[in-house]
Every structure is written in C-alpha cells, then in structure tokens.
C-alpha cells in the first residue's frame, strides 16, 4: 500500500492492517505517487458528484484533525495560557526549555520503559494465546469471546477494577500473596515502588487481546497442508512453529507491533487514570501524561504543544527506522 511506495508516505502509514480487498496491483504505487491519471478524462458530473460526496469526510478530517495538528506546531512556538486568549511568539524557546528540563527527560525515559515492556509482553502473550485458540477444543468459541472483554471495556472500568484488586489493605491480590505465604506484609502496589509494575501489568492485560485477535485472524488463513507436509517431513512442533507459522505471520506481526508501539507510546488514559500525575503517579508520568499536565495543570499550552510535537517527531523517526530495518516484512504487511 502507500506505505511502501514512497519515502514521503512511509512514516505516516500504518498500512498493512488495511482492508485486504484493497490488494495493490503492481503499478498502483507508481500511479499514486504521481497523482491518479485516468485513461480518459472523467466526466464533469462524475467529478462533481464524487467531490461532493467525499466533501463532508474530507472537511471533518481537514478541519478537526489535520488543522489542529498543524496548529499545535504553531502553538509550540507561542507562550500561551491554556484558557486565556493572550499569546506571545517566543520561537523555539519552549523546545530549549524542555531540553534543559529534567522532568522532560524523566518522562521520556518512563514512557520508553512503559512502552517497551508492555509491547514486548503483549506480543509474546498475544501470539502464544493465538496459537492456543487456533487449536480446536471444547469451548473455544466461548473463550475467544471472553478474552476480548478486557480490550472492549472502558479504560476507567479497567482502572477502578485493578485499583480494587491491588488495594493494599483490602485487595484480593495482597490477600492471596499473604494466604499462600509469599509475602508477610501487604505490598503497596500503587505506591512509588511498584506503581510502574502495576500499570505495565494492567496495560498488558488490557491490550494483548488486540494482538491475539489480529494474529488469530491470520493463523486461520494458513493452509493446513503446510503443517501436514512439515509433519510428514518429521518436523517437531517447535520447528513447525519456526519454519511454517512464523514466516506466515511475519507480515501481520510487523503491522501489529507498529500499531501497538504507536498506541502504547502515546497511551494517555490508562496511565493517567492509574496515577493522575501526582503522588506516586509521578513515577508513571510518561510523555503523554506530562504533555497533558503542562497544558491542563500548569496551563502552559505552548509547552504542552511542544511536547506533543516532540512525541510525534519521535514516532516518525522510529517508524522510518522500523520500516528500514524490516523492509521485507513491510512488503508482506
């Protein structure tokens, strides 16, 4: 799809998870880059109706997504209160401030820790669970439905649920740890020492079903003959996984990891609701949380916007590197 056709479109395109029916013919990428040139000029009425029907969607996206994003680049060059209209152009001052701001570096580091661990375990657990649910056994349909629950519920519910499970005095987790003699004193799961661990575990729980379902959908399209042939050749289960399954799911894995990385690195609500940036929450003040706090706790909209722009730039750079490293997978995906 577009993502692999031109360098300019690469970083912006989560591509391969797109509709399968849009299979790209060989020459499509070329045509797209140069603008779509029809063999014959489309009729006037065709042009008019076509543009008229796409107009509402185009308007909403331009006005409500692209314009705000462009505006945030402008905003990052201003010193502006979040609520009052006064503004002052300060150039790159916000960025210079952040460069020397220890809190920015801390939040970047915390964000990286949070993303790396959550993505790693989501992918491992998601693939393992997909392999399990790809086998046939009694009750598989039911379990497939149930495992999606955590992904479907509102984040606020997931958060209050986990805060209750992890409650230091009355939580069932501490009760079990105590009952089985694993700990003597209750662990303060939401305290400074463990809050990062708690939010990572909770996020894995909440988001690995996405990986599971995406991989499962792909596993089901692998022709069984491939496995039978491997079995005839005497390949063990491990070897079958490495030589048959893995090459087949490589493409979708590439896309899933890309999407999950973008979403985990910019994850706001789960992290914010767990700690709210204050108290022990300082230890999970990731980049998105910090951007939010600059804007709505300290009312420094310019700094908040600069943080959002930095976040975006990091994503673009990482995506380009990612596409470069996994060129082959990008083509399959």
């Amino acid at each position: 799809m577009t993502g692999v056709s031109g360098p300019e479109s690469k970083p912006l395109d989560p591509s391969g998870a797109r509709p399968r029916s849009e299979v790209t013919p060989a020459g499509r990428g070329m045509a797209r880059r140069g603008g779509w040139i029809p063999a014959t000029r489309p009729e006037r009425s065709q042009q008019l109706m076509g543009l008229l029907t796409i107009a509402p969607a185009l308007f909403l996206i331009l006005a409500l997504t692209l314009y705000p994003v462009a505006y945030s680049i402008w905003l990052s060059l201003l010193e502006k209160h979040s609520f009052f209209p006064q503004e002052r152009f300060v150039g790159l001052e916000n960025y210079l401030y952040l460069w020397t701001d220890p809190e920015f570096w801390t939040s970047l580091w915390l964000g990286v820790i949070y993303s790396v661990w959550t993505i790693l375990f989501q992918v491992i657990l998601g693939v393992a669970a997909a392999l399990i649910l790809n086998e046939s056994f009694v009750g598989r349909g039911l379990i497939r439905g149930i495992v999606l629950f955590p992904y479907m519920i509102p984040t606020i519910v997931a958060v209050i649920l986990w805060k209750w499970l992890l409650n230091d005095t009355y939580g069932v987790v501490n009760y079990w740890l105590f009952a089985f003699g694993i700990v003597r004193d209750p662990i303060s799961w939401l305290g400074a020492d463990h809050i990062m661990l708690s939010v990572i575990v909770m996020s894995i729980w909440q988001f690995f079903p996405f990986v599971l379902l995406s991989i499962l959908a792909r596993l089901q399209t692998i022709p069984p003959e491939l496995y039978e042939a491997a079995k005839v050749d005497g390949a063990s289960a491990t070897r079958r996984f490495i030589h048959v399954t893995l090459p087949q799911i490589r493409g979708i894995l590439f896309v899933v990891i890309l999407l999950r990385s973008i979403w985990m690195f910019t994850k706001f609500d789960t992290v914010w609701l767990m700690g709210e940036g204050a108290g022990a929450g300082r230890f999970i003040r990731t980049l998105p949380v910090y951007a939010y706090m600059r804007t709505l706790t300290y009312y420094q909209a310019g700094l908040g916007a600069a943080l959002a722009v930095i976040m975006f730039a990091i994503l673009v750079v990482c995506t380009i590197i990612y596409f470069g490293l996994f060129r082959e997978e990008a083509d399959i995906g």
């Binding site: 591509s15 797109r18 399968r20 779509w36 008229l52 519910v157 209050i160 709505l296 959002a308 994503l315």
Partner: protein
C-alpha cells in the same frame, strides 16, 4: 506407539491449561467486580474476602441511581455515542461511495491523506483541538464531543467502508440504473443492504470508542450535567472515602451496554478486525 500416545495427552493437557488460564485472567476481574457490587458495605472490606456475596443486596445499585448523577451521565453517554455513530455512518458511507463509485482527479491522494491521519493519537490532537473549540465558542457542548469522536473515527471507518463497498459488484447497481432507478434509489436498495456487515462493523467501532472515551470528554466538557460515564465515574472516585461497592456497581453498569452491544454483533466485529483492527 505407547510413547506417542502419552505425548499426545500431555500437549492436549497443556493446551487446556493454557485455555483455562486465558479464560480465567479475562473473566476473574469481572467476576470480582460483580461480586463486590452485590456486597453490603461491611462485607466489601471483610477479611478474608468472600468470593460469593454472603448477603447479596441491590443497595449499591440503588445508591448509584439515587444518590449520584449516574443516570444523567448515562443519558449523556447514550446521546453522544448515538449521535457520533449516526454522523460517522452518514459521512463515511458517502465518502466510501465517492471513493468507489466516482472517478475524479486526486481521488487516490484524498484516500491516502485520510489514511495518514489514522496515526494521530488523541493526546496529540486534543490539546490544539481544545483551544480551537474554545475559539469557536462551542466548548462544553455535546456537539463538540460528537465532532471530536466523528473526526477521530473517520479515517478508520472510511477505509473499512471503502473495502466493503469495493466488494459490491458495480453491475448490480448498473442493472438497477438500467431498470430506471435513480442513483439514490440504487444506493438505498442495492448498495446499502449489501454493505450492511460493513456498516455494522464500523458502527460498533464508533460506538465503543465514543462510549469508552475519557480524554476528549475530560478536556472538552466542564459542567457536571454534560459529563459522560467515564468522566462522571472518575469523579465518584475522587470523593474522600472511596465507596468500593458503589464504584464497582458503576463499573458493572458502564460495562454492560458495551458488552451487550459487543456480544450482539461479535461476528461482524471479528470480520471487521480481519480488515483493519480497532484503534486504542
């Protein structure tokens, strides 16, 4: 022979253990939430905790409906999610129709541009969005929320709809046109019914996104009577003494509509998943 048999059993056993763990990790927290919501306050804090409420009661739910603004939040959530689904469906169906049925210059460019916006996370959009909404004078309205959700869902719903529309053979429509139906009639009687699975899949995504959203509502809505469930429930949580029974009852009440919706249309959802995935 004997060795093979035993091996078969152990892999099978491992499979069942894995499946059971999967089901348990997803289901237990919900079971625990439900269990807590039916316990009277003293039992909520009992040690050791009772897994099945010893003395089940509706008390927490009664308090939720009478002593808090829960029903107002619920109504707001229904309004905002419903309107978002409606607007998103109309706009993305029109857009998908355009992208698959008309030929015009720049069509593919427009499609590509729309797809690009898919990677903007809420946190990157919401801050400038909030300031622009203030400038436009529509802050603190459901209208602003509906616009936010619609524009946020559009890239995805449009692409999904486009994929579904593309699978509907043009000949069917042409046949209708030859039979004297206008474009609109052909759309209503031929294209839309065939695209129904796609329309359902996209409406689930939009509904769940709008129903679950926290960040847009937190930032765009300030007055209590306009808040939706996630923000309203977070505020319940802020009272000095956390009433866990009440909070868990609220959790159950928010989850049920989303889950019912999800179960009712699950097969469409999984179909849509193959085609694109959900944002979040």
């Amino acid at each position: 022979m004997k060795r093979r048999r035993r091996r078969w059993f152990s892999t099978r056993g491992l499979l069942y253990v894995g499946a059971a763990l999967l089901a348990l990790q997803a289901a237990f927290p919900f079971f625990w939430m439900a269990s807590t919501s039916f316990k009277p306050p003293p039992e909520v804090f009992a040690q050791p905790p009772s897994f099945i409420p010893q003395d089940p009661t509706w008390e927490n739910f009664q308090r939720l409906f009478t002593a808090t603004a829960f029903l107002v939040y619920f109504r707001n959530s229904v309004i905002v999610s419903g309107l978002s689904v409606l607007l998103t469906m109309v706009v993305s169906a029109a857009g998908a129709y355009s992208l698959t049925r008309y030929r015009y210059l720049g069509r593919e460019k427009i499609a590509g541009l729309i797809l690009c916006t898919y990677m903007f996370a809420p946190i990157m959009v919401v801050i400038p969005f909030f300031i622009l909404v203030k400038k436009a004078g529509i802050e603190n309205t459901h209208f602003a929320l509906v616009l936010a959700f619609t524009s946020f869902c559009l890239p995805f719903t449009l692409w999904l709809m486009r994929a579904f529309f593309a699978t509907i053979p043009l000949e069917l429509e042409e046949a209708a046109l030859v039979d004297g139906a206008g474009r609109v009639r052909a759309l209503v009687y031929v294209v839309l019914p065939l695209a129904l699975p796609g329309i359902i899949a996209t409406s689930i995504f939009t509904f769940i996104l709008a129903w679950n959203d926290y960040i847009f509502t937190r930032i765009l809505i300030t007055s209590d009577e306009l808040k939706t469930l996630p923000v309203g429930v977070q505020d319940l949580f802020h009272s000095a003494l956390i009433d866990w029974g009440l909070i868990m009852a609220a959790g159950i009440m928010i989850t049920i509509p989303a889950l019912l919706f999800f179960v009712a249309v699950q097969r469409y959802l999984i179909r849509g998943w193959g085609a694109g995935g959900v944002k979040g």
